[in-house]
Amino acid sequence: MLTIADRDGAASVAPSATQAAEVAGSSIDFEDVTVSYGGTVVLDRFSLSVAPGEILALIGPSGSGKTTALRAVAGFVRPASGRIRIGEQDITDIPPYARGLGMVVQNYALFPHMRVDQNVAFGLRAQNADPALIATRVGECLELVGMSSFARRYPAQLSGGQQQRVAIARALAIRPRVLLLDEPLSALDAQIRRNMVEELGRLHRDLPNLTVLYVTHDQSEALTLADRIAILRDGRLNAFGPSRSLYQAPTSRFAAEFLGRANLLPVTVSQLDADGVLARVRLGEHSLSVRCELQLAPGHGCLLCIRPHALRLADLPTGNGFRATVETALWQGDTQNVTLRVEGVALNLTVSPSQAMPERGSAVWVDFAPHEATLIADEPAHG
């Protein structure tokens, strides 16, 4: 078993924060992990690979099993079946204290009877590290999160955001193989949350090899921070992919709606391009061209998914558009929100505020670039 103390034993010459980054990150692999609480399956044959050094956001509605997945990695829930690996090591049967992970929980859980520096030193002390090493490491980690001047305070004397930073410093002090964050920002108010998202981004640029599994129910945090996003629904992996492409081309209706506002129009496939990239679909009387990553046969019904900002208003028919009726138009300062109706389906569209507002009840042409929309299989809506 390779513990943090072991790894440092070899190179305990006052490592610096940048050296911390050089500890190679580890991957996290869930292999068919099933967790149940008293007969209720809350994580169902869950498989996911987090690459070394990436931030992977695990998102999903409340109760979907995110915390359970994270706690399975930390060792606080035991999978009924399946394995969990960190790097090359199978950790499924290893006790939590021997896993060498950093964990930050929603309510920080700073030890109230210890000062900030004692909190940060806790892991190293527990592992019997050399006092000189502890002192340097505590200094570095507090520096890293900008809390050096609060070292001698007690947690109760800190604000929520400050406590969060200390909790992160405490987790980083043991040079964890991976960092597990469970809704770390959900207890903070909106303004501080935005700042903390930026700070977490900066922190990861300082420690580029650190593997981070970031659990949140907030899709904007995930989109901002994560390299890749995994979406959980009812204990199952619903969608997984690089943040940008998952947002632009969601692979399920659930993912499309969970990651942001999405227009979903029922269409019928009429023809597939030979290269398999684009498809032609029918929306009422209109024929549209759209990116298609599904295996579909002509005649198949599916959903055309377009983000509100990918739609454009046009006065005249264009190459890839359809006709719709304006229902409402709402000016919101930095954008205008237009609701349209096409083939009985409501459609949202955002346009720049400088654009003339379309008249209610008027017919307009709506246009989109084929690669900015995608086809997804129809499935029952969530909720």
Partner: protein, 265 residues
Amino acid sequence: MLVWSRAARRMIWAVGGLVAAIIYGAPIIVIALASIAGHWNGAWPNDFTLRHYGNALTGDSARQLRTSLETGAIASVFAVLSGTWAALALRKIAPLPRRLFDLFFFMPSAVPSVSVGLGLLVAFSQPPVLLNGTTLIVILAHFVLISAFSYGNISAGLARLRPDYEQVAESLGARPAYKLWRVTLPLILPYIVGALSLSFALSMGELGATEMVYPPGWVTLPVGIFALSDRGAIFDAAALTMLLVAGTFAILLALVRISNRATVR
């Protein structure tokens, strides 16, 4: 507050205060007065004297106070140690067996303490365990009576402890013993001190079971007080009671201060 008008609130405070003063204060005041009364024939002592305190400090009573303090200290420390241990051990078991355990622990408090004393006497007055007439049986009786309260207090503290703290400690590499010593116990320290105070206070006032089991060489203060009042030496008994109150109060005050220091943060 349910009552908003200032006058009404004052009224309620006044009435409540008066009732509390009568219920809690009157017995203490009467005893305090009796402890310095020379004679007491009417509604009020006829004259005052410190003679009873003199008796209290010279006679057997000083030794009885020491006996009580020692019994209380030993029994309550053991009660808290085993209560902590039991609470930690029973923490993770299912609710139903746990309830049964709780019930079992609290049984001795539900029967008259005289019966507990009698039971111990009968159980341990023949081989192989012969405790009859020893100091140990007194301490054992106190332990049996107070340990449930220690256990109850400490398991309440553990139940209120969010699991996050211990889990974070573990994830940081703390092995079970380190985690217990550095995280769990410090976080429930106020409950431990509370348990110690309660156990000690209960032990200091214990009479029924002690009366049944005490040997001649280990007379606690309540036994002494009871003997005096039985003989009709009411004023001497009152002085001893004041001594008992003072001794208990001093110890509890010290414990409160420790507890305060542990919870300020």
